[in-house]
Amino acid sequence: MHNLRLSFISLTSGAVGVLLVVYIGLIAVVMSYAALTVEFSQSVKNDEAAVAVLEAHYLASVASVTDTNYLAEGYAAPSAQLFVPARSVTALR
């Protein structure tokens, strides 16, 4: 136990070295995390924008279907419409 005495210089040098590595490592982690965050966030935004394009196609299709005059396209108007009564929501009714 008595032989394990360390000089003050060695101890502080070691501590400084450890702190330096931790500090540099922390900077690297922070920078990497920031870069990944930006990348992922942008990726999400890009995906949302791609979905919006698909939604625009869907809404344009709805508008096209709504605006179509089926009689002008050669289809005949239905001679009668059938309505099916709603089913009872309870077994007892």
């Binding site: 690297a28 890009n46 949302e48 809404l59 508008a63 709504t66 309505f83």
Partner: protein, 584 residues
């Protein structure tokens, strides 16, 4: 032992120093060797200049099955900027940019901008797609920067444009909601700017409090509307056709759930494309359905009738002597055809739309009660979640002359917004209870919580009995009068009323050849799922609303029955449980 320990310490220190050197070496390569490359990459991720990476919450339509479809969202792409100080060949740069950018500066403007050597940043093109932006960046043109940007995008274009609203630069340098839901819910939709690229460690060191409990998460989010995109498309299409067919000044329509006040579709024509605002008439940016007031004409008669029934001054069996014309305070009030009907019951006032009859009912009700009912119906704003809601003009009801009450009884002399009108008429459909019309049903907060908006405040105006009796009259109108009785749907009760009002002259008085047509209806009559209000302003070469709007109304009724599979409420044998019934 001590020497052995020292050697171990040295070994550890050597390892640490080597690790530090390796890290420094890596940083050297990142920052010095590949610095320019990373800087360019960063530039693409962080737009500089005024545009910025605009961030904002979305607004959603809600399909009938609950699926959310974006009404307003963000698009991402690239903008192109030049640095006049470093650009070497402006003409070649312009050729390359204009080859991929659909909208950019004119050649002359571009060259003039490139000649301004005191500037370092001029944006010359926006909204490039990812592919085009990356292709342009790959060219590596000196003095040309290709930067990431995002912008507000409306997938529906003009769909519900005046309800959704727009964002633009207001008094400040940030984009804010200016009209429609964009303005009403700006506090929910706007972002503080750092939420997208928040750095956990930076937040940890600088502001641990906001990281743990972020107040913004409690109010920033997306807005979910009650607008059904396919119904909205149908209504918008129908209204545009009416307006074009009759060359009207403007037209509009609302479809609402009378039990909840949820607006399923709301439109007016003319409208605009939200993605292309460059040449839009600024007067179109507002929403006339909540901002403009009109004299609606005879669709007011059901409200007069229900008020009198509720007050107990008449019953459905009450009769009066219809003389065709009457004189009140030296003013002549006549039926639409000036013909007398003799002694007839109350229902005929609705069926034949008799002004003399409505005036008689108003007289029976008395001025004080009439004022009380109509003030309760129209005296307050509806509270709809759209900006700049207008006030109804009810000043005639504070006058002592009976003629003002008589004209008000058939919808002239007082003016209301379409939203106020459908809310009031919705009280008849909803058993006498008036609801709060609204467009947004919920807010999806960024915290993940969906906050349902409370629109449950209701006001009882009429008794259920009075509302039911008027509904019966309006249903008989569809079954026996509308389109000569051909509009009847044997398996579905539909209640409706037409309205034709004379338009006011700017200097006072009324035109005799200019009209405002309106139409209201709801179905199934006695447990309605939808109430529809339509109007068209100053249609040409046609006099009555039954000519302009009845086919549009019936088209919408049949569409909604099919689309929502509304089950029949009549015309089926009582023993029938599953067999189909036929309808014309």
């Amino acid at each position: 032992m001590r020497a052995q320990f020292r050697s171990r310490i040295r070994l550890v220190l050597t390892f640490i120093v080597l690790a530090a050197l390796l890290t420094l070496l890596r940083l050297y390569f990142i920052q010095i060797v590949h610095g320019a490359e990373y800087a360019q990459k960063a530039d693409r991720q962080f737009a500089s200049g005024g545009s910025g990476l605009f961030d904002r919450g979305s607004i959603y339509f809600t399909r009938k099955d609950g699926t959310l479809i974006s009404a307003a969202t963000l698009a991402t792409g690239f903008l192109v900027a030049i640095n006049p100080q470093t650009i070497t060949d402006p003409a070649a740069a312009y050729s390359a940019i204009s080859a991929v950018a659909s909208s950019t500066l004119s050649r002359d403007a571009f060259l003039a901008a490139a000649a301004k050597k005191n500037l370092v940043y001029v944006e010359v093109a926006h909204h490039l797609s990812d592919a085009d932006g990356q292709a342009l960046a790959a060219l590596g043109i000196p003095g040309v920067q290709v930067l990431r940007e995002s912008w507000r995008y409306y997938p529906g274009g003009s769909l519900a444009a005046q309800s959704i609203g727009i964002v633009s630069y207001g008094s400040g340098d940030t984009l804010v909601g200016q009209t429609g839901l964009e303005a009403t819910y700006d506090g929910v939709l706007s972002r503080s700017g750092d939420s997208l690229y928040k750095n956990f460690f930076a937040e940890l060191f600088s502001n641990v409090g906001s990281l743990l409990v972020n107040a913004k998460d409690a109010h920033e989010g997306d807005v979910v509307t009650t607008i059904e995109p396919e119904v909205q498309t149908r209504l918008q299409d129908d209204i545009a056709k009416v307006n074009q067919r009759y060359s009207s000044d403007d037209s509009g329509g609302i479809i609402m759930d009378p039990a909840t006040g949820a607006i399923i579709a709301l439109t007016s024509y003319p409208t605009y494309d939200e993605n292309n605002l460059q040449n839009v008439d600024p007067t179109l940016l507002g929403n006339p359905l909540v901002e403009h007031v009109h004299e609606f004409g005879s669709i007011m008669k059901p409200l007069t009738m229900t008020s009198a029934l509720d007050a107990g001054v008449i019953t459905p069996q009450t009769t009066y002597d219809d003389t065709g014309c009457i004189t009140v305070n030296n003013a002549h009030i006549c039926n639409w055809d000036s013909k007398a009907r003799g002694v007839i019951p109350m229902e005929q006032i609705i069926l034949q739309s008799l002004n003399v009859g409505a005036s008689w009912v108003a007289t029976q009700l008395g001025q004080d009660k009439f004022r009380a009912y109509f003030t309760e119906l129209f005296g307050q704003k509806t509270g709809i979640d759209l900006p700049n809601e207008g006030h109804a003009l009810l000043s005639n009801l504070s006058q002592p002359e009976q003629v003002d009450y008589d004209t008000a009884s058939f919808g002239q002399g007082i003016a209301e917004t379409p939203v106020q009108m459908i809310r009031a008429l919705g009280a008849i459909a909803n058993g006498g209870v008036m609801v709060q019309p609204h467009l947004a049903s919920a807010v999806r907060l960024d915290s993940g919580i969906t906050r349902t908006l409370d629109w449950s405040q209701t006001t009882r105006i009429f008794s259920a009995t009075a509302a039911h009796e008027t509904t019966q009259m309006m249903t008989d109108m569809v079954d026996t009068v509308l389109q000569g009785g051909r509009a009847i749907i044997p398996t579905m009760s539909v209640a409706a009323k037409t309205g034709t009002a004379q338009l006011t002259k700017p200097g006072g008085g009324y035109y005799t050849d200019r009209f405002f047509h309106s139409f209201v209806g709801f179905f199934p009559s006695y447990n309605p799922r939808f109430i529809i209000l339509l109007y068209t302003d100053n249609p040409k070469h046609v006099e009555y609303a039954s000519e302009t709007l009845d086919s549009t109304f019936l088209d919408l009724v049949h569409f909604l029955i099919d689309y929502y599979q509304v089950p029949p409420d009549r015309g089926l044998p009582s023993t029938q449980t599953g067999a189909p019934a036929s309808s014309g």
